[in-house]
């Protein structure tokens, strides 16, 4: 039969080497991360508990829990989502269903890419200049949420566009042939079959919004604010609020003599929240892909 010659053996060996080099490169990024996360959890362990989640920071934030920041983050996330989702989904509908191949479409696409690339601190400056000062909202949850919404818009647009593009053109043509209008086609066939992608985008937006610090630092998030423990309706739209991401920054850099477990605990909760939300997005994607109707 075919015996391996010296050349073939050398080729296979070089292929093995190449494969292993790239494998090592990949692992070198992934493994340290797993170790780091493990270390964070280890350091945070003493303080992680239900009490940690539902009690407020006390004693100049050297003790207690993270209730106020947690609720604040929830507010910011929900309000920015409510603003960003409709605009993002409809913008993606425009780009995929209505836009022609002309200069305007190219510019819009370029704008979306650029919006995604704007540094978070520049979003903060924008939010400060436009919402806090110009629109007169002052430092508030509303101003911070608007800033976050604009910042996370590209995430929703990208996910939705992908989902819309996955719906076969043949369906649209079949609808147009029977006299359905563009919007009727979108509303009854295209959008309902893009739900999984839209949901993914929404979930990713939530994860981004929950983790951002710079954009909210100057537009509505604040060092400390006293709220009632255990009360989910702690803030008003025009109040300033605490936020989990900001809180982590504060207690790890701005407050001296904080017991070690506290910032680790905050970091772990924030990380867990974000990773859980992303894992949810992955699950949604996989689940709904299996339930495809064609």
């Amino acid at each position: 039969m075919f015996q391996a010659t010296a050349i073939t053996r050398r080729k296979h060996r070089s292929e093995e080497i190449a494969r292993n080099v790239f494998l090592v490169m990949t692992l070198l990024m992934v493994v340290p991360l797993v170790l780091i996360v493990g270390y964070l959890i280890y350091q945070a362990w003493p303080i992680l508990s239900l009490d940690f989640l539902i009690s407020n920071p006390r004693n100049g934030m050297r003790a207690g829990g993270i209730w106020a920041p947690l609720v604040g983050t929830l507010y910011l996330v929900v309000i920015s989502l409510v603003i960003a989702a409709p605009i993002g989904v409809l913008a993606a509908v425009f780009l995929n269903e209505y836009a022609r191949e002309n200069w305007l479409t190219r510019v819009v696409n370029l704008a979306v890419v650029n919006l995604a690339g704007v540094p978070s601190i520049v979003h903060a400056l924008f939010g400060l200049g436009a919402f806090v000062l110009f629109a007169g909202l002052g430092k508030s949850i509303l101003a911070a949420s608007l800033t976050l919404a604009i910042m996370t818009l590209p995430v929703i647009i990208a996910s939705t566009k992908e989902a819309l593009a996955a719906v076969p053109m043949a369906f649209r043509e079949a609808c147009w042939n029977v006299g359905a209008t563009r919007w009727q086609t979108i509303r009854h066939i295209v959008l309902p079959n893009s739900i999984s992608g839209i949901l993914t985008g929404v979930i990713l937006q939530v994860s981004r919004a929950a983790g951002e610090t710079a954009p909210i630092m100057f537009t509505g998030a604040v060092f400390f604010k006293a709220v009632r423990e255990g009360n989910p309706f702690a803030y008003g739209l025009f109040d300033q609020c605490m936020a989990l991401s900001m809180h982590l920054f504060t207690i790890s850099t701005q407050v001296p003599n904080v017991p070690a477990a506290l910032p680790y605990g905050t970091a772990v909760v924030l990380l867990a929240m974000v990773l859980a939300v992303n894992a949810l997005a992955i699950v949604v994607r996989v689940r709904l892909r299996a339930r495809k109707k064609w």
Binding site: M25, A91, L125, F126, L128, F134, F249, V274, I282
Partner: protein, 297 residues
């Protein structure tokens, strides 16, 4: 002859108008960002700021009572140094990982790896900064016997880990975009996988890989919280990776809270914002043109 109720037709026209408005909203927002940032800083930009001092001096003393100076050269050096170090690590490793995932990997491990990279990308920048502060800091102090571990090396490593997911995902797209016919032809000629990658795929995908690297650069330049927490607070041009530095982004974040609204200091911070916006705008523009090259194929 049954027709659609008039209210429905009107509602449809309305929603199509809203769709068009949302469609151009991205343009509106990008312009809006530039406009409002420019607006806050324009006063001082045109009346009083010495651009020569701004771009040429390393002396950044915005709060000095007697001798105020607004030189950002050291800050630019700070941003450049962490970015360069980060890219020097992230680009080879990222593209290596993209090659592995795209060409050498089985289907199952590929799914696992892709999910891991996605989760890596999801980690908030403040958590990365925290990692730099609490994990990298003592590690660097211990390994390299230096007094402070908040420096270019720390920031660079953290930024590398942050930028890798972008590079891997776009790089993988670029490699996937190379037509299978190239692969089949090469394999039919009897080349090894490595030769296929080196001689066929990398040259064919170079536009997309360049775009991946550029988007990584954009991400690194624009990063704020992680570098704020991990690079230290020294405003000076670094001479080694063990030096502490300050980046443009960190400067704004650190000082904006204390600058009185409308003051010169306040306006200069906005001007730095304009500078950052312009840099990332250009980088993203070039990257987009390169990516358009692979999509158009």
């Amino acid at each position: 002859m049954v027709t659609r109720p008039r209210s429905e037709v009107v509602a449809e026209a309305a929603i199509e108008l809203v769709i068009r408005l949302c469609g151009i909203s991205a343009i509106v927002f990008v312009f809006g960002i530039f406009f409002f940032v420019f607006r806050e800083g324009s006063g001082f930009l045109f009346h009083g700021l010495s651009l020569r001092q701004f771009f040429g001096s390393i002396e950044w003393y915005p709060t000095s009572e007697s001798h105020v100076r607004y030189g950002v050269l050291a800050l630019i050096a700070g941003t450049a140094s962490v970015t360069v170090l980060a890219m020097a690590i992230a680009v080879p490793f990222g593209i290596g990982a993209a090659i592995f995932i795209s060409e050498f990997c089985g289907r199952r491990p590929r799914e696992v790896l892709k999910i891991t990279i996605e989760l890596l990308a999801a980690i908030p920048s403040v958590v990365w900064g925290f990692i730099g502060l609490t994990v990298m800091n003592p590690l660097i102090i211990h390994l390299f016997h230096v007094p402070i571990g908040l420096n270019v090396l720390n920031g660079g490593l953290i930024l590398a880990l942050m930028s890798v997911p972008v590079i891997v995902s776009i790089g993988e797209d670029a490699l996937k975009a190379v037509p299978d016919s190239y692969r089949e032809a090469a394999l039919a000629l009897g080349v090894t996988r490595w030769q296929l990658v080196y001689r066929v795929l990398l040259p064919a995908a170079k536009n997309g890989l360049l775009a991946a690297a550029l988007l990584g650069v954009g991400r690194a330049v624009g990063e704020t919280m992680a570098v704020l927490m991990a690079t230290g607070h020294a405003v000076k041009i670094p001479t080694s990776v063990m030096d502490s530095v300050r980046t443009l982004t960190a400067t704004i974040a650190a000082e904006l809270g204390e600058a009185a609204v409308g003051s010169n200091h306040y306006q200069v911070l906005f001007i730095i914002g304009i500078l950052l916006f312009s840099i990332t705008f250009v980088v993203n523009l070039v990257a987009d043109l390169a990516v358009r090259g692979i999509r158009a194929r």
